[in-house]
């Protein structure tokens, strides 16, 4: 369909919104290189120099370097565990049509609707009861559980498209169930696995409330999302440092997004759609 002249207001509104999305980000990027005085006096002016002083302060004051390492550890181990749990489960659910399997699948597809936040306090109790309170370990064990419903639902859909003949052929060659999973199903649903990885990378890296409550404020253990808001109080109103810290936490996500934009959008869209 052609967009006629009457679309002018629509163009203007849409791009005004786009600017609304961009301005704060520009303001952040620019402020990260400025001093407080500069920020207040000329909020929109580009920075006069590209000194990294604010970044260094953010690193020192907020222990951001350590926090980035912690976040990376939690994210990577949680991703691995998620796949270790979700791939066999999806494999099982995609191939069987028993009543039990149907029930399990139902549990997972409904679980998608349970907001993680609801059980914050009982989860905190669980962490205390298992002796893993104030550790990253508990987050590594816990985060995959929150990601399982969506991951299983997505992977099952991918695995259902693999023809049964593939497995039969492998079976005739004497392959065990495990070998079928490893050498037939896993390679064939790599796109599905990539989707799950991307989606969960975002969720795990960005997770805040549980990390705050369970890992706590100990600089040796806390993740970058927990460390970030502390820059607000430590530095009073040093916006340059605050914005520099924020920019730092965004870099990994932003790099992944720019490189894998198409795939990431598909992943996020499918994440919200498949239920």
């Amino acid at each position: 369909m052609k967009l006629g002249k009457r679309w002018l207001p629509a163009h203007i509104l849409v791009w005004a919104y786009a600017v609304l999305l961009l301005v704060p980000l520009y303001y952040f990027l620019a402020s990260a290189f400025k001093s407080n005085d500069d920020i207040f006096a000329h909020p929109f002016a580009p920075p006069s120099s590209l000194g990294l002083g604010n970044f260094r302060t953010a690193f020192d004051n907020g222990d951001l370097g350590l926090a980035v390492v912690n976040s990376a550890l939690v994210t990577v181990f949680s991703l691995v565990l998620t796949l270790l749990l979700a791939i066999p489960a999806s494999f099982a659910l995609a191939r069987t049509r028993g009543r039990l399997a149907g029930l399990i699948e139902k549990v997972f597809s409904l679980g998608f609707l349970i907001p993680t936040f609801a059980a914050l306090f009982p989860t905190f109790l669980l962490a205390a009861a298992t002796g893993l309170f104030h550790t990253r370990t508990f987050m590594v064990l816990f985060l995959p559980a929150t990601a399982l419903p969506l991951s299983v639902v997505i992977l099952v859909q991918f695995m259902r498209t693999i023809p049964a003949e593939m497995e039969e052929a492998a079976r005739l060659d004497g392959a065990s169930t495990f070998a079928v999973l490893r050498h037939v199903y896993t390679p064939m649903c790599l796109p599905g696995i990539a989707t799950v990885l991307l989606l969960n990378f975002l969720t795990f890296w960005n997770e805040y409330l549980y990390s705050l409550v369970i890992i706590g404020p100990d600089p040796a253990q806390r993740t970058v999302q927990v460390a970030l808001p502390t820059l607000k109080s430590i530095t009073g109103t040093d916006y340059g440092v605050l914005t520099a810290g924020t920019v730092l936490t965004l870099v990994p996500v932003w790099v992944v997004y720019t490189v894998l934009q198409k795939r990431m959008q598909q992943a996020l869209v499918s994440g919200a759609v498949k239920m």
């Binding site: 679309w7 907001p115 064990l141 924020t246």
Partner: protein
């Protein structure tokens, strides 16, 4: 229970396997299967369903702090909560938040999604930009708003530079604007992300539909609401449900990071109340009673939204 999908005759005859081995293969397929789902299921039950059920138990306990003795309270907590004006403030704030943010977000996002789906000039750039809020973590988003709305932040700076200095305010610290700021945060990020979801779904609506309507003389406005909307109605419902849940439960983090529920109770939402009573006020029975209430509100909301958006053709 047969687990084999019916194979076309050609493939079946090509394979030399006798019928008996085929049926044993199919049995193996059935058994080897379900067991592999057990670890994931157990994990899920332990870390998600268990804690969720625990909410209902704790809600019936009198538990005035982590290290305090616990006693059975029955419905006492519910009575305390219902008598507490703070709870009703939170109910009101949550109701306002949902009533403003949700319709605004869904309607704007749908129109924006329709716009992007028409592939106007620059739609690729737009798609890239609209996704940005979906990538930014809650603390980072909150820091953006904190820097923008603080007394000497972006908004006041912009107002002053255009000569509207009298309109400046301590946005997050003023009772009349704190809640509005939180809603603005939801809407700011929510529209873009949701719009991309709608655009993706609208992209799969056959183009002939819109073209036929145009030939009949319908403008874009009519096409958008009377042709495309009915087709993806159910999908809009699903997205509305998700946004509803994110807004209802997710607000705790925004409130915690930006206003701490204040000034007074002017920006205390239900989910923040759950957090505050558990981790700041240490009134655990109270907190989880509100948690149960929140859960029921979520459930009722989901069923209502599903009803409203049920496919009508």
């Amino acid at each position: 229970m047969t687990t084999l999908t019916t194979t076309p005759d050609g493939t079946a005859s090509r394979r030399p396997a006798p019928p008996s081995s085929r049926s044993s293969a199919s049995r193996a397929r059935g058994q080897g299967g379900t067991v592999l789902a057990v670890p994931a299921l157990a994990w899920y039950l332990l870390f998600m369903v268990g804690p969720l059920l625990a909410i209902f138990v704790i809600a019936a306990l009198h538990w005035p702090g982590m290290l305090q003795p616990v006693s059975f309270a029955g419905l006492d907590n519910a009575r305390t909560v219902l008598d507490d004006p703070v709870f009703w403030d939170a109910v009101e704030n949550t109701a306002i938040q949902l009533a403003v943010a949700l319709p605004l977000m869904i309607v704007c996002a749908y129109m924006l999604g329709y716009y992007v789906a028409q592939r106007p000039p620059g739609h690729r750039v737009l798609r890239y930009l609209l996704f940005i809020p979906g990538l930014i973590s809650t603390p980072a988003k909150a820091m953006v708003f904190y820097a923008a709305l603080s007394p000497d932040g972006l908004v006041n700076g912009a107002l002053e530079s255009v000569g509207l200095g009298s309109l400046t305010d301590a946005w997050l610290a003023s009772p009349s604007t704190a809640l509005a700021c939180l809603i603005a945060l939801d809407v700011w990020g929510g529209i873009g992300f949701t719009a991309v979801l709608f655009a993706a779904r609208l992209g799969s609506v056959p183009e002939e539909l819109g073209e036929a309507a145009q030939l009949d003389g319908a403008g874009h406005w009519r096409t958008m609401w009377t042709v495309h909307f009915p087709v993806i109605r159910e999908y809009v419902g699903v997205v509305t449900m998700l946004q509803f849940l994110w807004t209802l439960f997710g607000s705790a983090q925004h409130v915690l990071l930006l206003t701490q529920g204040g000034p007074g109770t002017s920006s205390t939402t239900l989910s923040f109340l759950v957090y505050q009573k558990a981790f700041i006020a240490a009134d655990l029975g109270y907190s989880q009673t509100v948690g149960v209430f929140l859960f029921l509100v979520g459930l009722a909301g989901l069923l209502t939204i599903r009803r409203v958006f049920r496919q009508t053709y």
